[in-house]
């Protein structure tokens, strides 16, 4: 996938970059999809930061007499099999979803970027080797790779972050490699070199600022995928373990009692759908604003 970056001014100052962020935000809120996405994502972040303010109960507080209930005034979204309040668990679950997805995607970006830069800059054997290793990792559907690694690592929150990061690294390595290749071909890189700039200087002050925007867009669009994979792994019992209120664990719990009370499954499904929809709308709108040519970056990852 060859993506050419817009030839930005190599010496973009901090101020002009801030200005760029401000105009992007302005454009974002002027598009319905962007506004809806932004509102959902900001709302989720608020819930994640201060779940205690919004949740009516503690996530593990049990009222055994109120087991498997439907929505009521006491428990707006009902209760689970040991009488825990579903609404409270879902609210505390926002934090779990983000605490897994954000570090996973961010580390995939950083590691993939480093690998991509080294491969594109060094070329030759190192490059070919990297391409093959990434091909092997991408020979598995992301969920299956994560699952196989988790089966050996053992289920835990930290391990879920690690396996999702590993599943996502190849795409970042590939895209950064292509971006560095095309940035390298620009004349201003050659000019810098002629002026005696070191490789590190060229990479950090000239290549990176040019290739980061598309990578951030990719990251924004991978966050919902990471959330979906985490919840999926936890649903299968291989991810975040109970009693941690992960959405996947809530789904799994509800699934086991689906005949008696389907409410937990219904509400956990709804919050998952709203979350993925919000992040996707935000990510796609950002992509369309920053660079519509990047639409090829949309990929299904689960």
């Amino acid at each position: 996938m060859a993506i050419s970056t817009p030839p930005r001014a190599a010496s973009s100052t901090r101020q002009s970059r801030l200005h760029g962020v401000a105009t992007t935000l302005q454009q974002l809120v002027h598009r319905p999809a962007g506004l809806i996405g932004l509102v959902i994502v900001v709302g989720l972040i608020i819930l994640a930061v201060a779940p205690g303010v919004f949740a009516p109960y503690e996530p593990d507080a049990q009222t055994i007499s109120d087991r498997l209930q439907g929505p009521s005034m006491d428990h707006l979204l009902g209760t689970d099999r040991i009488g825990r309040d579903t609404l409270s668990r879902l609210i505390f679950g926002v934090g779990i979803a983000l605490v897994v997805a954000l570090p996973a995607v961010l580390s995939a970006l950083v590691i993939g970027l480093l690998l991509g830069i080294v491969a594109a800059w060094r070329g030759g054997l190192i490059d070919s080797l990297l391409v093959i290793v990434m091909d092997v990792l991408q020979a598995f559907p992301a969920v299956i790779l994560a699952l196989a690694l988790l089966a050996l690592l053992g289920p835990s929150l930290r391990n879920v972050i690690i396996v999702i990061a590993i599943a996502f690294i190849p795409n970042y390595a590939r895209v950064s490699r292509a971006l560095v290749f095309s940035a390298k071909a620009n004349q201003w890189v050659e000019a810098e070199r002629a002026l005696g700039a070191s490789t590190l200087r060229i990479v950090f002050t000239h290549i990176l600022p040019n290739i980061l925007p598309p990578l951030f867009i990719l990251m924004a669009m991978d966050i919902p995928s990471a959330i979906v994979i985490e919840a999926g792994l936890s649903f299968l019992g291989l991810g975040v373990q109970p009693p941690t209120p992960s959405w996947g664990a809530i789904l799994s719990d509800g699934f086991q009692n689906i005949i008696q009370s389907p409410w937990a499954v219904v509400f956990a499904s709804i919050i998952l759908m709203i979350t993925t929809l919000g992040f996707t709308m935000l990510g796609e709108t950002l992509r369309d604003i920053v660079d519509p040519r990047l639409s090829g970056l949309t990929r299904r990852r689960w």
Binding site: A139, F140, P141, A148, L149, P224, I259, L277
Partner: protein
């Protein structure tokens, strides 16, 4: 084209060989002892040693990986020591239900997705187009297990209209078919949205091309232009995406198989992980990876063959 094809095929074989090596070595890359994991804390040291030697874990890593690869290439994935059956036989048994599930989901996705995309593209910015756009994004972002669980709640638990457990009786076609409806729909939803969007955008791209304007100038009706010229071009990326979708569905099928308690590759891997049956996990994952790689290869080649423009371009990109 010939050179490209050859290079692509060689790469595919290389990747599959390396995937085997990766899976063979995985147990050593990752900390922890699979035998202790498998047998649990109550296993005696003697038993652990016996199983280790049975699984050849007491030999050097490269010997183990080498043996695994040579045998896997000959179609021998080892023996499942829980049931004492060949892993290969278990994998082959699990293939047809998963392939059926994935294939039917794709057909369903195409049947709904393509017409939706055409309708939106021929009436851009109309109410119908906007509604379809919202529905498409929503469908794309629904996780497959959420779709499965919600369908289960609505049609099996509440309405009790459709069966929810098992694969049905294959000798009774109606029963078998009824058991397929919910799982197939759950898997298809994402791709209906995806295909609708893809068909719309690629048709619009073509409809703005010069030759379409020429065709219109010659007095051809909008209908004729849309269906005879624009659709033909828009269908190419769609066909390629069907290949990618097939690969993805083989992986995602695990959720739907677990939710609806269906036999299949995903269920095989899930059960094997639950019982810590490492050789079976490895065999199942290998089968999924091979299908995934082949589906992507087919998608890629279809794209190359059907669209001559890509062929010219492929010389420069790797």
């Amino acid at each position: 084209m010939g050179a490209y094809l050859l290079r692509r095929l060689i790469m595919t074989v290389l990747v599959i060989v390396l995937v085997m090596a990766f899976l063979g070595a995985l147990v050593h890359i990752i900390p922890g002892d699979p035998v202790t994991l498998m047998l649990g804390p109550r296993a005696t040291p003697d038993l652990i040693a016996q199983v280790r030697s049975q699984m050849e874990l007491d030999q050097p890593v490269y010997t183990q990986v080498g043996h695994f690869m040579i045998r896997a290439a000959q179609g021998d994935l080892g023996v499942d020591f829980v049931t004492d059956t060949s892993v290969m036989d278990l994998v082959i048994q699990a293939l047809p239900p998963t392939l059926t599930l994935a294939a039917l989901s794709l057909i369903l996705a195409a049947i709904f997705g393509i017409p939706l995309g055409i309708l939106s593209a021929t009436r851009p910015n109309s109410l119908l187009d906007r509604v379809t756009a919202v529905f498409s994004v929503s469908m794309i972002t629904i996780p497959p297990y959420v779709a499965g669980l919600l369908l289960l709640v609505i049609f099996a638990v509440r309405l009790k209209a459709l069966p929810s457990i098992g694969s049905g009786d294959i000798s009774d076609p109606v029963d078998y078919f009824l058991h397929l409806i919910l799982p197939v729909t759950a898997l298809a939803i994402t791709w209906i949205g995806y295909i609708a969007r893809l068909v719309r955008s690629s048709m619009l791209e073509v409809l703005n091309a010069d030759y379409i304007r020429t065709a219109r100038a010659y007095g051809l009706s909008d209908r004729r232009v849309a269906y005879k010229y624009a659709l033909r071009n828009a269908i190419i990326p769609t066909i390629a995406v069907l290949g990618v979708a097939f690969g993805s569905l083989i992986g995602v099928a695990i959720f739907v198989e677990v939710i609806f308690a269906r036999a299949g590759l995903g269920m095989l891997v899930f059960d094997a992980i639950q019982s810590r049956n490492y050789p079976l996990v490895r065999g199942g994952v290998l089968a999924i990876a091979i299908l995934f790689v082949l589906a992507n290869l087919v998608a890629d080649l279809t794209y190359q063959i059907v669209d001559p423009r890509i062929r010219v371009r492929s010389g420069s990109s790797s």
